[in-house]
């Protein structure tokens, strides 16, 4: 699910950290009519504290939101937090050390799944190094490093203990539960560490490890045993989520160069792969609306740095409909379980860093717009 550690090379969610300059597609035409209010109302910024926050995922009752945020002194990397949407109380879920990303709440048990490197003995040193780098005034182009120390953990909602789920060399992250809480879909680069690589591959691993990322699923209670690999095309496959009926997986697939991405769905055994988008841009971070009828995702179709939210029917038969109209970053959309709200990550609050925004979602208007959309254009 990365959901947004997608950023490779210069690909970066502008909002979330990077400082890359605009090489966007020049938009010479008059700005399009703003239809954001058709779908989103009562828009507001949910997270305020700290430097950045993103990737908010709902509990099944819609009363909690788990998210990642950089907000504690001493650690310049994301940690995972759980927000009670009724009281406003916020508590940290992850250990506070090292890097974390991509949390998800188990729909059955309430356990919180996330990826973390806190077991890495160099974690504190890495934190200090990053802080020192920042203090030097330099700016880093956002780069997600696909740290091979990244492993999946789950924190028990009952005991509060954190259990390690995966234990394989390679980046294990971007994980989500199936609706019944029995399965975990995740992204892993483990295949690159399990076999011997030829010279070209070795070079590839050094420059762009995400090339080796594939989608896996495993039993949630199997302690990381026996994951089944679902994808095998060259290039980054990541950010898998289950469909609301638990029968399919939606994810985004990059091309080999890692610049273009599109939204796909497949069966849980990797069969019946269907492509939903064809923008010739970076389309990613898909999430299926709980009605099961359509997908909300992010794409930089309108400018390299300008990620906007789009939606497309579940079969990808129609041309996607633009949802957000805001310069900078809008991405990582996640509808609430009742389908009436949308949490997403946006830089619209100012600056480059993202924060989580919340809005009422007009499902009716979304359906109408999708109905009226023209057939999908082939590129």
């Amino acid at each position: 699910m990365l959901r947004y550690p997608v950023m490779k090379h210069l690909v970066a969610a502008a909002a979330l950290a990077c400082g890359f300059t605009a090489i966007g597609l020049a938009q010479s035409a008059a700005p399009p009519e703003n239809h954001e209010r058709d779908f989103l109302s009562r828009i507001r910024r949910l997270t305020v504290e700290g430097r950045r926050a993103g990737e908010g995922y709902w509990s099944p009752d819609g009363k909690k939101l788990v998210f990642q945020s950089e907000r504690e002194p001493g650690n310049p990397f994301y940690q995972i937090y759980l927000m009670d949407l009724t009281t406003g109380d916020i508590s940290r879920v992850s250990p506070g050390v090292g890097k974390t990303t991509c949390s998800f709440i188990n729909p059955e048990s309430g356990d919180v799944l996330f990826a973390s490197t806190h077991h890495d003995p160099t974690s504190r040193q890495q934190q200090a190094d990053e802080l020192k780098f920042r203090a030097s005034g330099q700016e880093r182009r956002y780069s997600w490093d696909y740290d091979p120390e990244m492993e999946l953990y789950a924190k028990s909602s009952k005991t509060g203990t954190i259990k390690r789920i995966t234990n394989k060399r390679g980046y294990d992250a971007e994980a989500s539960y199936s609706p019944d809480g029995q399965w975990i879909a995740f992204t892993s680069t483990r295949q690159a560490y399990e076999r011997s690589l030829n010279a070209t591959e070795q070079k590839q691993l050094e420059t762009d490890p995400s090339y080796f990322a594939e989608i896996y699923i495993m039993r949630a209670d199997a302690d990381g045993a026996g994951p089944r690999r679902l994808t095998s095309t060259p290039g980054y496959d990541g950010g898998p989520f289950f469909s609301p009926d638990g029968k399919r997986i939606i994810w985004r697939r990059f091309d080999e160069a890692g610049l273009l991405a599109d939204i796909y769905t497949m069966n849980l055994d990797g069969t019946d792969v269907r492509r939903l988008t064809d923008f010739g841009a970076m389309s990613w971070a898909p999430y299926i609306h709980p009605s099961g009828q359509y997908v909300i995702f992010a794409s930089n179709k309108l400018g390299f740095e300008n990620f906007e939210l789009f939606m497309v029917d579940i079969d990808g038969k129609k041309e996607p409909v633009r949802v957000s109209y805001s310069d900078g970053f809008d991405g990582l959309p996640v509808p609430s379980p009742d389908g009436r709200q949308l949490a997403w990550t946006s830089s619209r609050g100012g600056g480059r860093e993202g924060q989580i925004f919340l809005a009422q979602w007009n499902h009716d208007a979304a359906l109408a717009a999708l109905r009226n959309a023209p057939p999908r254009r082939a590129r």
């Binding site: 009562r42 828009i43 819609g62 009670d84 406003g88 729909p107 059955e108 609706p179 709980p290 499902h363």
Partner: protein, 639 residues
């Protein structure tokens, strides 16, 4: 099955009879739910709109009624409004502060000025006056024909007279040569100047000269050229010809360091009897705007004048009460939380801050949004706090007066704090919170503590405002007084609008449902403050959001105290990291000279800023207590 849909406010549940797909426990309004039913229910008004009685409406309606006449500080209307507020606070169980007999904390402030009996007489040298126009002039007095300017010093002066044209000096920095004093020696003389600026000059010249034609500026120039006093004439060719200058009152009450008065047209003609030109001819020459048209000494003429300005002092009242903690606070750090709002407004708008249209001028400025809305919020907050079963800190409810004349009430509180400042946990202010649009609320001064983003984030999760944070505490509202003494502060506002400072800022235009939500939000913040360690104060560094003045591009990082009577520029504060702070200056210092310009008041200072150049160090002389100090200040660019 029943699908239970809970709003994020958490307390309202809509039960919808529909079929949803079973997906673990993930429930949603599935496709099989009849659309029409679902969306009719979705249209149900939000919870807060269902509140049967508003917490704030009645307070706003009472405070913004005509009977309080616009609640101008020091008036009967303000007193009645204060009585109402005190009664409301008493109703919640709030008590006077420890050691106080009641909730009223009176203070005096300067509300205006009037002439206190200025006099004027002219004596002509009988021997040498034979060349005078119209025969031998007569000595005489014209005490009804003089009026002191509101910023005049009180003094008696007798001296010879020099006519200095319009009395305008354009600073060299403007690259526009115009100096009424260029060829004149006015040292120890009484300078006579024309009001306004050359009438017939071309548009561009007028635009520049107009900028330096303010009487405060003319007085400063006269003083800096060594004159003993300044007399102003509204020239025969000018609008309001021959009239005395009205005694307007501005809130910066500091004197100009020189006696200054206007004299009537007849008195002016009399004064010019032995002059080389009549006043009309002299003005005609000047009105071309030609910079080479010089003034002249008026020979054989001595003026004796006395200026008396009576500054009118009124008494206003802060209304302050508190709800004590429910347990001893001996082990509580900083056991006092202060919430406040100003309740005064502009009266009938005669004080100069009114933006009323001509038709509405003189009507009561009832100030429903400014700031009956904030006052009502504080009363509603007192209601809510009084119902808390436990309070770990005392909560002070402070309604300030004389905010509109320069944050006087709150400054009075922080300068003579009835509770020690170091015991204050935080200050929360509300100023104009009644006109919410599109759910937008702004929190100002959030830079005063690193805790604010955290507290605001948590409180707003349930409140659900589209909340904007502004770090800058240098705001034209009472939060500035508390920031100035190092108390972590917040100020809420829903922003300015077309009725701002007009009689049309009325109670029927207030968004009461949203105002109630702000009161709830504030209650949550106060509760979170009670439950937390005291927020740490942070000094906000020089900000890009700082107040800007058109035409002033240099930045000195000084925060003038507008209400000061001090000779010089009293600093109400210095902006963290700004040039003044870097030069070693601090709150309470009084600047008396900058870049060679003597400074008697804020106006002198403002004009002096025109002379400063970005990155060019200048000498500053200032008083710290009785000690005269010098430093070098390097202005930066105003962002």
């Amino acid at each position: 099955m029943k699908t239970r849909v809970t709003t994020h406010r958490g307390s309202e549940a809509l039960k919808i009879n529909g079929v949803s797909l079973r997906v673990g426990k993930q429930r949603y309004l599935g496709a099989s739910v009849p659309r029409c039913v679902v969306f009719v229910l979705l249209a149900v008004a939000p919870l807060w709109a269902q509140t049967t009685t508003s917490k704030t409406r009645e307070h706003v309606q009472v405070l913004a009624s005509d009977r309080f006449g616009g609640r101008e500080a020091g008036t009967d209307g303000e007193r009645q409004a204060g009585d109402y507020i005190a009664a409301q606070l008493a109703r919640t169980g709030a008590k006077p502060l420890p050691g106080k007999g009641d909730m009223f904390l009176p203070f005096q402030f300067t509300a205006g000025a009037r002439d206190g009996g200025s006099t004027f007489s002219v004596q002509f040298d009988p021997v040498n006056a034979t060349g005078a126009i119209g025969g031998i002039p007569q000595n005489g007095q014209g005490n009804n024909n003089i009026r002191a300017l509101s910023f005049s010093e009180d003094a008696e002066v007798t001296a010879g007279v020099v006519f200095a044209g319009y009395g305008i000096v354009v600073p060299d920095s403007q690259n526009f040569g115009y100096d009424s004093y260029a060829t004149l020696d006015v040292k120890d003389k009484i300078v006579v100047v024309l009001r306004y600026f050359p009438e017939d000059a071309d548009k561009d010249t007028k635009a520049i000269l107009a900028r330096y034609s303010d009487l405060r500026y003319k007085a400063m120039q006269a003083r800096q050229h060594g004159a003993k006093a300044m007399l102003v004439i509204t020239g025969p060719r000018s609008p309001n010809a021959g009239e005395l200058v009205p005694m307007t009152f501005d809130t910066a009450i500091a004197g100009s360091g020189i006696p200054a008065a206007s004299i009537s047209g007849s008195m002016a003609a009399w004064l010019f009897q032995s002059a080389p030109k009549t006043l009309t001819d002299a003005q005609k020459d000047l009105d071309t705007g030609n910079p080479h048209t010089a003034g002249f000494a008026i020979p054989n003429t001595t003026v004796s004048m006395k200026t008396v300005v009576q500054r009118v002092t009124h008494t206003a009242r802060n209304v302050v009460a508190y709800l004590p903690a429910t347990a001893p606070t001996t082990n509580v750090q900083k056991p006092w939380i202060v919430v406040g709002a100003h309740y005064d407004h502009l009266g009938r708008g005669e004080g100069g801050n009114s933006l009323a249209t001509k038709e509405d001028a003189g009507k009561p400025h009832v100030g429903a949004d400014d700031n009956a809305s904030g006052t009502a919020t504080v009363i509603a907050l007192a209601d809510a706090v009084s119902k808390m079963p436990t309070r770990t800190r005392h909560v002070v409810f402070a309604l300030w007066s004389a905010e509109e004349v320069g944050l006087v009430g709150s400054a009075e509180f922080t300068n003579q704090p009835p509770v020690p400042i170091e015991q204050l946990d935080a200050y929360i202010n509300f100023d104009m919170v009644g006109r919410m649009q599109e759910n937008k609320l702004t929190a100002q001064a959030t830079g005063t503590s690193p805790s604010w983003p955290s507290i605001l984030e948590r409180a707003n999760v349930a409140a659900g405002f589209d909340l904007t944070l502004q770090e800058d505490p240098y705001q034209p509202t009472d939060v500035a007084s508390f920031n100035g003494v190092g108390v972590p502060s917040l100020s809420f506002t829903t922003g300015a609008h077309v009725d701002y400072h007009k009689p049309s800022d009325t109670a029927d235009k207030i968004a009461y449902a949203d105002l109630d939500r702000i009161a709830d939000f504030a209650t949550t913040i106060v509760r979170r403050l009670m439950e937390s360690d005291p927020p740490q104060f942070a000094k906000v560094e020089q900000s890009q959001q700082g107040a800007t003045r058109t035409g002033v591009r240099v930045f000195t990082g000084t925060v003038p105290d507008y209400a000061s009577n001090a000779k010089g520029l009293l600093l109400g504060g210095v902006i963290g990291g700004g040039p003044a702070e870097q030069a070693g200056m601090q709150k309470g210092d009084v600047i008396v000279e900058i870049a060679g310009q003597t400074i008697a008041n804020i106006y002198d200072y403002t004009y002096a800023l025109e002379l400063l150049k970005i990155s060019e160090p200048v000498k500053v002389v200032y008083m710290r207590g009785t000690e005269r100090r010098e430093t070098t200040l390097t202005p930066s660019a105003r962002k």
